[in-house]
């Protein structure tokens, strides 16, 4: 397929009017129609349903539209990057992070993008996954990283980036602090600090506390709050493995079938990707998110006692 054919089709899809689409693309209507027909031939079916006054997308048209929009945006991002560069534009990039996603995860991607998008200006926002979805739809943020999330609207693209386990985090003075791993029975007999709006709360409940609820201690929606409380000896937190920890805390793996979750990248479909967003999405979807970088063969049991941010 060719770029111009895709442009013609996207113009028809947004105007639902061949005359206006042709004007938008600066071509004659027969040329536009021919381009769309060629694309239809290649994609193996009609994309647009035409009957008298009515112009509508067919099911196939609706199916391929988001993909073609993304592909075209991706193809055009390079040219727009050159223009931004010449005009010395500021390149804003607003990234939403769920409370269980540490900013440490996006630092390296941001540094990488900044090499190629000199005007890059990043704004990070924190919010629960549902809130971030709303912000995406409103155009208030460009991308979001969330944990397990329910009901992502069809207008939002959603890619799984990596999976990670939950681990126990506690003060070195805690009675469980010298264990190599913590079993489910121990967990049931200890006080857990409650993470408000935790996206894996249901999974934890199901895996570790199917009969009796855990003994919950103090509560916060903020990971750092929980860490300070854990460091003060108020209880144990269950935290995603990537989360950087206060140096005064210890990390201990959980026994049995550990709770894990997927970290996902969300972005709105059909928006013109800015060069900064385009680069962010590309880096995020290729990056090696595992924590030990080049050496992935370290066995699970060898969890170091001092946690580090992923390099």
């Amino acid at each position: 397929m060719e770029l111009h054919q895709v442009r013609y089709f996207l113009a028809v899809a947004s105007t639902l009017n061949f005359t206006r689409a042709a004007e938008q693309c600066n071509v004659t209507q027969p040329a536009l129609t021919k381009g769309v027909q060629k694309l239809e031939q290649e994609l193996g079916g009609q994309l647009i349903y035409r009957e008298r006054q009515l112009t509508q997308l067919t099911d196939l048209g609706k199916e391929v539209l988001p993909m073609l929009e993304r592909t075209l945006a991706s193809a055009e991002a390079v040219r727009r990057r050159a223009q931004e560069f010449q005009r010395k534009d500021v390149a804003p990039l607003k990234i939403g992070l769920a409370p269980s996603i540490s900013a440490s995860l996006v630092l390296d991607p941001i540094a990488e993008i900044a090499k190629f998008v000199p005007g890059l200006h990043v704004e990070l926002r924190e919010g629960a996954a549902e809130k971030l979805v709303d912000l995406l739809l409103e155009g208030e943020i460009n991308a979001a990283m969330v944990g397990d999330v329910q009901d992502v609207p069809a207008r939002i693209d959603d890619w799984s980036l990596f999976e990670e386990r939950y681990v126990a985090v506690l003060a070195p003075t805690h009675r469980l602090a010298n264990r190599r791993s913590i079993g489910i029975d121990d967990l049931r007999e200890t006080i857990l600090l409650e993470r408000a709006d935790c996206d894996v709360a249901a999974k934890i409940q199901q895996s570790y506390f199917p009969e009796e609820p855990p003994q919950l201690g103090h509560c916060s929606g903020h990971d750092l709050h929980l860490q300070h409380m854990a460091a003060a000896g108020f209880g144990v937190i269950l935290a995603p493995e990537h989360m950087p920890r206060l140096p005064t805390l210890k990390t201990i793996p959980l026994e049995g079938d550990p709770v894990s979750r997927e970290v996902r990248l969300l972005a709105v479909q059909g928006r013109r990707y800015s060069p900064a967003l385009d680069a962010f999405v590309k880096v995020a979807r290729l990056r090696d998110w595992s924590f030990e970088g080049s050496d992935r063969r370290v066995p699970h049991a060898a969890v170091p006692e001092v946690a580090r941010a992923p390099a």
Partner: protein, 245 residues
């Protein structure tokens, strides 16, 4: 920190569903790609032949390759991540000499892995004449990383996330439904590999681009079993250098 990611390796599917220890393909760099092709074709099942003939016939009938960029065209610039998420721009890659861009279908395709091994074997020769080689896959996530590791490649493997570069070179097509069913049956989920619900693939193609960004040679072959021999790419590079420097 330690990992939870070892499981990712388990998800990586075999490069060649038919391969075993007697695979005729890997590390046989003394053979031409044409010879390896002949050997690989002997491993085709009846279903493979049917799918192969259907796809190649369809690509020829719809003349998909007619969109592909040709010698003398300006090569579209790109900015793509490598297997570690580091970005590479085409301007940088061709700053000091010619750039060879080779589109391949993915780590699941034995003809692609044979081609990648042949390019790897010729890498020093490419570099000795000042050329840079970049191979481009539609695959994302850890698939390109696993491919690079499993074949021991030291090549720039770039991921054409969302197909933008293949589209701008005119080598992109939608996988017809019959072919999709065949590949699904073999266990290849391009949706997961590419991160796209619509299955697209590039026609394998090899371009030689000069330092000014002009296409000097173009090899575009709808028959995905046929690839440009590294010796031929080297000849194109030498000719381009001879003609224009």
């Amino acid at each position: 920190m330690t990992t939870t990611r070892a499981a990712a390796a388990d998800r990586f599917q075999p490069i060649d569903p038919q391969s075993d220890d007697s695979s005729p393909m890997l590390n046989q760099t003394d053979k031409t790609l044409a010879r390896i092709r002949t050997e690989l074709l002997t491993t085709f099942s009846a279903a493979d032949w049917e799918s192969y003939n259907h796809l190649v016939g369809w690509l020829r009938d719809t003349d998909v390759a007619s969109h592909a960029l040709k010698v003398g065209d300006d090569a579209p610039d790109f900015l793509l991540p490598d297997v570690d998420g580091r970005l590479h721009s085409s301007e940088q890659l061709r700053r000091n000499g010619a750039l060879v861009v080779s589109f391949f279908r993915g780590g699941w395709c034995p003809f692609c892995t044979a081609e990648l091994c042949a390019l790897q074997a010729a890498k020093d020769e490419f570099e000795s004449i000042g050329a840079t080689l970049a191979v481009v896959t539609p695959e994302t996530r850890d698939f390109p990383r696993q491919l690079k590791r499993s074949l021991g490649l030291d090549l720039k493997v770039l991921s054409d996330v969302d197909y933008g570069v293949a589209m701008s070179y005119g080598v992109l097509f939608r996988v017809p439904d019959e072919i999709k069913a065949h590949y699904s049956g073999l266990g290849f989920d391009f949706g997961a590999r590419h991160g796209s619900p619509v299955w697209m693939l590039p026609i394998p193609a090899t371009y030689v681009i000069d330092a000014e960004g002009r296409i000097r040679s173009a090899f575009v072959e709808p028959d995905f079993t046929i690839r440009e021999e590294p010796a031929q790419i080297l000849a194109s590079l030498r000719q381009a250098a001879f003609t224009f420097k």
